[in-house]
Point group: C2
Chain length 354, copies 2
Amino acid sequence: MSELKNDRFIRALLKQPVDKTPVWMMRQAGRYLPEYKAIRAEAGSFMDLCTNPELACEVTLQPLERFDFDAAILFSDILTIPDAMGLGLYFAEGEGPKFKSPIRTAADINKLFIPDPEQELKYVMDAVRLIRKNLQGRVPLIGFSGSPWTLATYMVEGSSSKTFSKVKGLMFEQPKLMHKMLDKLAQSVASYLNAQIAAGAQAVMLFDTWGGALGTEEYLEFSLRYAQQVRSLLKTDVDGKKVPTVLFTKGGGQWLESMAGIGYDALGLDWQTDIHHARMRVGSKVALQGNMDPITLYANSEVIREKVGSILNKYGSGTGHVFNLGHGILPDMNPEHVKVMVDAVHELSEQYHK
Amino acid sequence: MSELKNDRFIRALLKQPVDKTPVWMMRQAGRYLPEYKAIRAEAGSFMDLCTNPELACEVTLQPLERFDFDAAILFSDILTIPDAMGLGLYFAEGEGPKFKSPIRTAADINKLFIPDPEQELKYVMDAVRLIRKNLQGRVPLIGFSGSPWTLATYMVEGSSSKTFSKVKGLMFEQPKLMHKMLDKLAQSVASYLNAQIAAGAQAVMLFDTWGGALGTEEYLEFSLRYAQQVRSLLKTDVDGKKVPTVLFTKGGGQWLESMAGIGYDALGLDWQTDIHHARMRVGSKVALQGNMDPITLYANSEVIREKVGSILNKYGSGTGHVFNLGHGILPDMNPEHVKVMVDAVHELSEQYHK
C-alpha cells in the first residue's frame, strides 16, 4: 500500500499538528456533480451503482479531480447492513431509502443474523480495496456505516419517518426486544467496519442520523450505548498506525459531553451547534468535524468565504478540527461553490496552525 | 370577568406554589378528537373553522369536557399574521400550511404592513372574547402566535420546508432586508398578542417552531432577537394581574441559557432536552413547560404513567413546572391515552408540592 501523501485529515482527527485545516464534505461524491449523474444514468439504480465496485470506485474519486479535498469517502449507503440481512433495500425515486421486508415481529428480530462482510457485503470490501489502490496514497479513505439506532429506525419503520412512531413504540413497549436488535446491529456494524479497515479504510465514521429524534434518556440507552459497543469492538491499530474513528449524531449537540466519553477520536457536528462552545465543552478529549450550514453553499462566494472564516475563527488555534458541512450537500447546489469553500478553508486556516 | 377557579397553570408559570403540577397539551383541541372532526366537517376548511368565532370557541372547549386540563388554548393557527398581511394562508389536505402569495422580492417586504388586530384579525379577538366568556373562569385561556422567525420561514418558503433554502438564502445574502422583515413581524406579533391579552387571554405563548433549523449565531441574531423585541413590547400587567409569557423554540435545547435571559416567564421544552438538566441550567430564572415525547401516547397506560412519573421526578420538587408534550399530539392518537397522561400528572405530582 502507498504511503499517504496528504495525511492532514488523519493527523487532525488524532489532534496532531497540521499546516492547514483539512476539509471534506458529506455526500461529496453525488448528485450535485454532472459526472456523477452520467455514471449513475449508466449504472441504473442507486443500489446498482453501490454494488458495482468499479463504478463505486469511479464516483468516489470524481470529486478529488475537481476539488482539493483532504479525504475520500467510500461511495456507499448507511443502510447496507440491513440490506445484507435480507431486508431488501431500495430507493424509490425522490423518496429516500425503503425496505421491502421491514421488521414487524419478534420473530423477525430473532432471525436477524450478523452478516459476514466478505460474503454478503463483499461488494463493499471490493470497492474499498479498489478505491484504496486507485487513490495511490493521495488522500486517506473514509469507511462508514449507519449507527445501530439509525439502522433500527429504518428497519422498523420500513423507510424514513417524520415521527418514528413504530420504532419508538417498540422501544417504549418492548425495550428488551429493542436491545436484542440493537446488540445484533452493534456486532454487525463493528464487524463491517473492521472489515472495511482490513480492506483499506484509513478512518471510519458512524452516522447516527436519527439519534436526535430521541429524548436524552433514550438517546443514552438506545443510541449512544450501542455506538460505544461498536467502538469497543473496533480494531483500530493497523500495522502500527491508528485508524481514527468519528461519531456523528445529527441533532446531538446537547449530548456532546457524553459522546466525547466513549472512545471515538472525533465528533461530527451539525450546523446548529456552535463549534467554539463545542470545543470548550469537549476540551481535549476529541477532535471536531464540521460544521457549516449546507444551505450556505447556495449563497455567493463572499458569503461562503465569510462563513468559512467565521467557523475557522470560532474553532480557533491549534489542531483537532476537520472542516465539513453540518449535513450533506444538496443535489441542486453549484459545484463551483464547493470549490470556493474548499479553497477558503485551506487559505484562511493557515493562520491558526502557526 | 369571572375569577379563575383553577389558577395552577398561571401560578406555576409565575413560580408560585401549587398543589399539583398543571397540565395542558399542544394541539389539545384537534383531529385526535372525534367531536372535533365532526365540527370540522361541518365548518369546511381548517381556515373556515379558525375564522368562525363560535366554532373556534366550541372546539377550544371540547377537550376540557373530556380531560382535566389546567388551561385552554385558543383554537387558531400560528400563521394568522401573514394571512392578515395578505399572503393568503391555506391548507392543502395532508400537506401543512401554504401561502398563495409568498414573499419573493424586496418590494414584497417593503409593502408588508402591521395588521390592526381588531380589523384584519378581528375574528381571533372575537374568538378570544367568546371563549373567555364561556370558560366562566374554569381554567385560564392561552393566546399565541408564531415567532417572527417562524412566520418569516413560511412567508418566504411559501410552505413548510425541509431545507429552508429560500429563507436562509435571504438571511445569508441580504441580512438587512431580512432584519427589516423580522422587525415588522415582531411589531405585528406584539400588537397581536397585546390585543389577545386585551380581549381576555390570560397567558401568551410564542411558538418558534423553526428556530432549531438555524446555527447558533443565526438563531441569536434572527430568531431570539425578535422574540426579545416581541417581549419588550408586550403589556403583561392587566388590572394588577400578571399575564405570564412562554417562549418555545423547537430544537432549541442548546440555547436555553440565552432564551432564559430575555424576559419570558417560562420556556417550552421539546422532548429531546432533559428537563432536570434544563432546570439546572436556567436556575430560578424561568419556569419550564414540557416535555414528554408525543410518541409516548401510542404506548399502553403503564408506559405512559411511567414516563409521566419520570418527567415529574426529573423536574423534582417545587413549583415552576407545567406538564406538556414536547410537541403536538398526532391525529391518530387515542384520546383515552390522553386521559391516562393528564390523570397521572395530577396524581403523581402531589408529592412534589408538599
